[in-house]
């Protein structure tokens, strides 16, 4: 039997890895989206003004 053959163990871990990957991708999308919305709605305006004063 070849050592390269995928073991059942790898199948079981695959789901976990994909799940974690999706969670990380969602977290990135969420933070990116929040930043865009916050900048777009001017929520960061006050903070910017305070740093300039």
């Amino acid at each position: 039997m070849s050592i390269a053959k995928e073991h059942e163990l790898h199948h079981r871990r695959k789901g976990r890895n994909i799940g974690l990957g999706l969670v990380l991708a969602a977290a990135i999308a969420l933070i990116f989206g929040l930043t865009i919305v916050k900048v777009g709605t001017g929520d960061f305006g006050n903070a910017l003004q305070e740093t300039q004063n």
């Binding site: 073991h7 976990r16 929040l34 919305v37």
Partner: protein, 314 residues
């Protein structure tokens, strides 16, 4: 035999992604998500849809994190109770340390990002909710007093208030009313469960009212709290939170809920044993519908006012 199979026996019970998700108590999370969503949308201040989505998500994550910390601390009693024996820690899928790490990390993430996305009052309330559920309820009240779920119910009642605070930046009377509604609903909901789960809490040594004061007293308490809840729920219909849809919903559901509570109060153990706690089980199911319908009605009335179809009470 491949190399990988040598140690595979020790991985037979290895956690899947779903086991980690189960740590967050997804069924409880649906209640948190829905009530927080209603709190957010019923508020008079409009919120950007994406910010609103993030706010509800972070509140849900905070609720889930407290669920993971609850499972971490309660692993010993979860293993004894039939209802909770299949949870990831007692089932041997996830270790206590993993649950603790996930709970703490998610709590911090949820609180900080709710603060950044909305405001720090909402974030502070979320942090307090997690603290209340984990420290006050799980670590202290649950194993100490039969009033555990009465006081501990506050933890489940905060989400609509947090949703409201996320939208408005304040906590007003409407937010407090939504809190009170869930707070008063929790005892009859859990005591009905305790009645038909019978020996579970006994075995685990959790001082539920059924264990400390007996099942007769629990039946009386269910009725008393249901009457108080009905007064509160119907009274709320005449505040600024209420509206015609809420009033109709509250009248119908409180009548049904009171009917169920009276039936539970009238029954004795022999009658309940004879039909395998049919009335208690249906009361528990009705309690789920009760809360979702009340919050759903609050949402519908708020939306009707917003689109100008009705004027609102106040």
């Amino acid at each position: 035999m491949s190399d990988a199979s040598i140690n595979s026996a020790s991985f037979e019970n290895e956690a899947q992604f779903g086991d980690y998700f189960a740590l967050l108590k997804p069924r409880v999370m649906t209640l948190v998500v829905f009530t927080a969503f209603v709190g957010l949308l019923a508020a008079p201040t409009p919120v950007h849809p994406f910010i609103g989505f993030c706010a509800v998500l972070f509140i849900a994550l905070g609720g889930g994190a407290s669920g993971a910390l609850n499972m971490w601390y309660d692993a010993d009693i979860d293993a004894v109770m039939k209802r909770t024996a299949k949870r990831p820690i007692p089932a041997g899928k996830v270790t206590k340390d993993e649950a603790f790490a996930i709970g703490i990390a998610l709590s911090a993430f949820a609180v900080v990002f709710l603060g950044l996305a909305t405001n720090w009052l909402a974030a502070g309330l979320l942090a307090f909710t997690i603290f209340f559920y984990v420290v006050i309820y799980t670590m202290w009240l649950k194993r100490w007093t039969p009033q555990n779920i009465v006081i501990g119910g506050a933890a489940g009642a905060f989400p609509p208030m947090i949703g409201w605070a996320a939208a408005t930046g304040t906590v007003s009377v409407e937010a407090v009313l939504m809190f009170c509604l869930t707070f008063m609903w929790t005892p009859p909901h859990f005591w009905a469960l305790a009645l038909f789960m019978r020996s579970d809490y006994d075995d685990a040594g959790v001082p539920m009212l059924t264990v400390t004061h007996g099942r007769r007293t629990t039946r009386k308490h269910i009725l008393a709290y249901t009457i108080l809840l009905a007064v509160l729920a119907i009274g709320t219909a005449f505040t600024s939170l209420g509206g015609p849809v809420y009033l109709a919903t509250a009248l119908v559901l409180n009548a049904l809920f009171l009917k169920g509570a009276v039936a539970i109060w009238r029954r004795d153990e022999d009658m309940s044993e004879a039909d395998n706690f049919k009335v208690e089980r249906s009361f528990f199911k009705l309690s789920l519908l009760y809360l979702f319908a009340h919050f759903g009605a609050i949402l519908v009335d708020a939306l009707l006012v917003r689109v100008g179809l009705i004027g609102g009470w106040a």
